[in-house]
């Protein structure tokens, strides 16, 4: 895990907006691993995932003026850029062709794939959520990796919206206790 430079997001945002070198450096160091994690869940091979990560940073850098803090956090904005870039990538023709000749089992369309034990295992591999109950790990999976809305989570898991919220809260608390 990369060392996270302690800087508040307003300061970082300002540095990025000024196109400062330090801004880029901190941005990359703080977020590249997390964004790469999200991208890797969708884009399976490492080299392609790195390409998408690069594209995501270029998008973040060039479109920073379009980030609006009235709609969400800077982190969420970057998460969406990375996820969307990954989805665009796996829907692109070259990638689909590569997948067709390769391992078809891995090609589950992101954002629409049903929760499978295989998916959940992905999160748990590193041990962080290994000992978390399935009901919490699956909700983390859908919300943060697959990018489901609360309504979609509610439908996918067949639980009320209220339960989506309380379960998300509980899952995050379990997660936070591990740091």
């Amino acid at each position: 895990m990369s060392v996270r430079v302690e800087i508040n997001s307003e300061e970082l945002l300002l540095l990025v907006r000024q196109r400062s070198e330090k801004g880029f450096s901190v941005l990359y160091d703080n977020y590249s691993a997390a964004l790469f994690g999200v991208i890797s869940r969708i884009v399976k091979d490492n080299a392609s995932a790195e390409d998408v990560l690069q594209e995501s940073f270029v998008k973040i850098w060039r479109n920073i003026e379009q980030y609006d803090d009235c709609k969400g956090t800077f982190f969420t904005w970057m998460l969406n850029i990375a996820r969307n870039a990954s989805i665009d990538y796996v829907r692109s023709r070259p990638y689909l062709q590569k997948q067709r000749t390769g391992n078809e089992k891995d090609l589950n369309a992101p954002g629409v794939s049903p929760v499978s034990p295989d998916n959940i295992e992905h999160i748990g591999v590193r041990g962080m959520v290994m000992n978390m109950e399935t009901q919490y790990s699956e909700i983390l999976n859908l919300l943060y990796f697959n990018g489901y809305t609360q309504e979609e989570v509610s439908e996918a898991l067949n639980i009320p919206l209220g339960t989506v919220k309380t379960r998300a809260r509980r899952a995050l608390q379990i997660l936070r206790n591990q740091f």
């Binding site: 990359y28 969420t76 996820r83 969307n84 999160i123 379960r167 809260r169």
Partner: protein, 266 residues
């Protein structure tokens, strides 16, 4: 909802995931900006998430940072500029659905176009149908007319057909008519020539005279604008002269001699 309630609600966890949309997301964003405690909580959630997301896969190669730095500086990486501000907050699924709406709208437009075209075509077909019907009728009447003319011409040209000129009597000088009569088959044609149109309720009647006795060949009309005024009347077996009188509509049994208009001998 106060800060504590918001923190406990689980909304912040969804907010950081980007799982809240529209007004709900904006409301939370406002609370985050306004309240330090909420801000702290969001930071804590993000911190946990950063760790979670970072932990699940390998790390990007160490050389990538320089590569990305280069790409950011490069003027050649401009195609990524196409991203739009709103788009980032809308998820891919929603973009697809707006594409679906666009496609649906296009389909509707296409259907409307088809519909309008069908109606126009149908109108055109109906018009054409009417024109065709009229043309058919015209053709039919032309055939009938030409058959009539051919029949009349054959009769006039027949070797046994006599052409008799009828002239105005003393009370109607200058009037002329022609009778064609075939003495073999008895067929009779009248050409009223200069006979005036009769008054209402009256009709002209043609008579054949044989040995001083009149035999009716029937009544006929005078139609001013008819281009073919020849009319075939009843067959006459024998005649020495023909005369036309003006009679009550439908004809009479004996001619009104005082109403004789034209007359001619064979």
């Amino acid at each position: 909802m106060n800060a504590e309630e918001l923190i406990e609600s689980g909304k912040l966890e969804l907010y950081v995931a980007g799982a809240l949309q529209g007004m709900e997301a904006r409301e939370v964003a406002m609370m985050v900006k306004a309240n330090n405690k909420v801000q702290e909580e969001v930071r804590a959630i993000e911190g946990a998430l950063l760790a979670l997301l970072s932990s699940t896969s390998g790390v990007p190669s160490s050389s990538l940072k320089d590569k990305v730095a280069g790409a950011i500086q490069s003027p050649f990486v401009t195609r990524q500029n196409a991203i739009r501000g709103e788009e980032v907050y809308e998820r891919k699924a929603i973009q697809v659905s707006s594409l679906t709406w666009l496609l649906a709208a296009a389909c509707v437009a296409l259907l409307v176009t088809f519909g309008v075209t069908a109606v126009l075509l149908n109108n055109k077909i109906n018009e054409d149908q009417a024109v065709l019907t009229a043309t058919k009728e015209e053709y039919k009447s032309t055939i009938i007319r030409s058959e009539k003319l051919a029949g009349e011409l054959a009769l006039i040209n027949h070797q046994n057909t006599r052409k008799i000129f009828l002239s105005g009597v003393a009370s109607s000088p200058g009037l002329k008519a022609i009778v064609y009569w075939n003495n073999l088959n008895g067929r009779v044609l009248i050409s009223p020539l200069s006979l005036p149109a009769p008054p209402a309720g009256k009709q002209y009647q043609l008579w054949a005279l044989l040995d001083g006795k009149p035999v009716s060949a029937g009544v006929f009309d005078v139609v001013d604008d008819a281009d073919d005024k020849l009319q075939e009347l009843k067959n006459i077996a024998g005649a020495q002269a023909f005369a036309v009188t003006l009679e009550e509509s439908g004809g009479v049994l004996t001619p009104t001699l005082s109403a004789t208009y034209v007359m001619g001998k064979l």
